[in-house]
Point group: C2
Chain length 248, copies 2
Amino acid sequence: MLDSGDDVRAWSIPESTVLRLPVYQRILMNFQHRGLNTISSADLGRLSGENAASVRRDLSRLGSLGTRGTGYNVTTLIRQIDRVFATNEPHGVVLVGAGNLGRALVHSKNFFGHGAELLFVFDADPLLIGTELGGVTVLAEELIQAQVTSASVQLAVLTVPVAAAQSVAERLVAAGVRYILNFAPTTLHVGTEVTVRYVDLSIELQALSFYERDDAARHSGPSIGTAGITNSARSRKSRTHRSSAKPR
Amino acid sequence: MLDSGDDVRAWSIPESTVLRLPVYQRILMNFQHRGLNTISSADLGRLSGENAASVRRDLSRLGSLGTRGTGYNVTTLIRQIDRVFATNEPHGVVLVGAGNLGRALVHSKNFFGHGAELLFVFDADPLLIGTELGGVTVLAEELIQAQVTSASVQLAVLTVPVAAAQSVAERLVAAGVRYILNFAPTTLHVGTEVTVRYVDLSIELQALSFYERDDAARHSGPSIGTAGITNSARSRKSRTHRSSAKPR
DNA sequence: TAGATTGTTAATCGATTAACAATC
DNA sequence: TAGATTGTTAATCGATTAACAATC
């Protein structure tokens, strides 16, 4: 039952759009649950905190999915976003680091799913090895090479201490991993064939603190020009960049 | 012992720079530990994964801190970045949500610190109320209004389930909070006087999965133009946006 | 002086958004 | 037809980076 939209190019979607699509998806699921059939770019914008024009531009990357005068069909949109993220085509993920953060991610309802399936968990701590996490048994990090290679896992989540991050990353890459979501607050030096995405939680708080401090430095004079803004605005940029994304 | 640089304007630093400064700071601390006195923009670039010109442009926002022909003095740079982030001028932070993620953040060596001091932890779960976390006792969420107001806390970290996020945010705002770091995967609707920073961990994994999928769709043909890149590149953008940042 | 490296200019690139013709 | 809403154009804004004069 695949329609002819099968050849709609999913690639060359800008990163900013890639980061917003999951947000729209959540709102769409919510609409679906409530039995609503259509949604306008204005609604999606209001609920996601984005500009309606941005929403339309984002969605237009997936094809011409809306109906002028009516809006977007909720189910169609969900299906198309699922297609872009290959939600129905599960791919294995390995987690290294079964500490607080690793466990928090595994127990989070939202982290895995969306097609991502947790296949292995590794840790260096003998006390954690052999325990169960997310449906799998925590293995010693020495087993990364053997296990990850034989299962052909491409994607890894790194929640190890800074001191271990580089060497674990090298092990993962040697075992065939090509995409790393790195939570350790350190730069990983890996080959250009590997895409690393950095999430540094402490930077997030520092950035917010900066703005607190910065606003205070403005002497809390009457804030200039808040005219017409009714909503808390903020976008959803995020940190990334793919090794291969800078070819020149 | 404040030098005349006191009037160097720390404000109007672009967000992209604000997000990179803590990365530089980490590298600088490392240099300091190793007894190195100076660092060049080329070194900082290599170690942070950024372009050397970007590094220089970022640092030039803090003033003219380098010495042509020599580089930057490590200690000076650390001190200046500390000044921008007001690291020595501690400010209180409240955490709501003592679940897995909240505990992971509190136990993380890197999350608090940098001037951020955990003053209160709140949770709705009676089993958690009264337990200790990060040096404070977990309190019932009903106490937010009284405690946060009297302590004049401006900054909150939200690690509650989606279902609770909006109402907790409203409570926090009513109690005087003006900056929220929101880990709940939902848009918060708060007044324009409140700055919300979103960290959505599941989107990070979905984005990386998208690229895995996307690269695969390219049929693994010989990747075009990796000429000259020797390093894993990627930047450190992040999701934010301040309510007041869109005055027009 | 010669070599190294900054600080900044100018070019480029990408992301956002107002506006509006197309069209349901 | 009249009203609503998309898809896209074009303007704008901000971020990145090569290049180089300034200068230690």
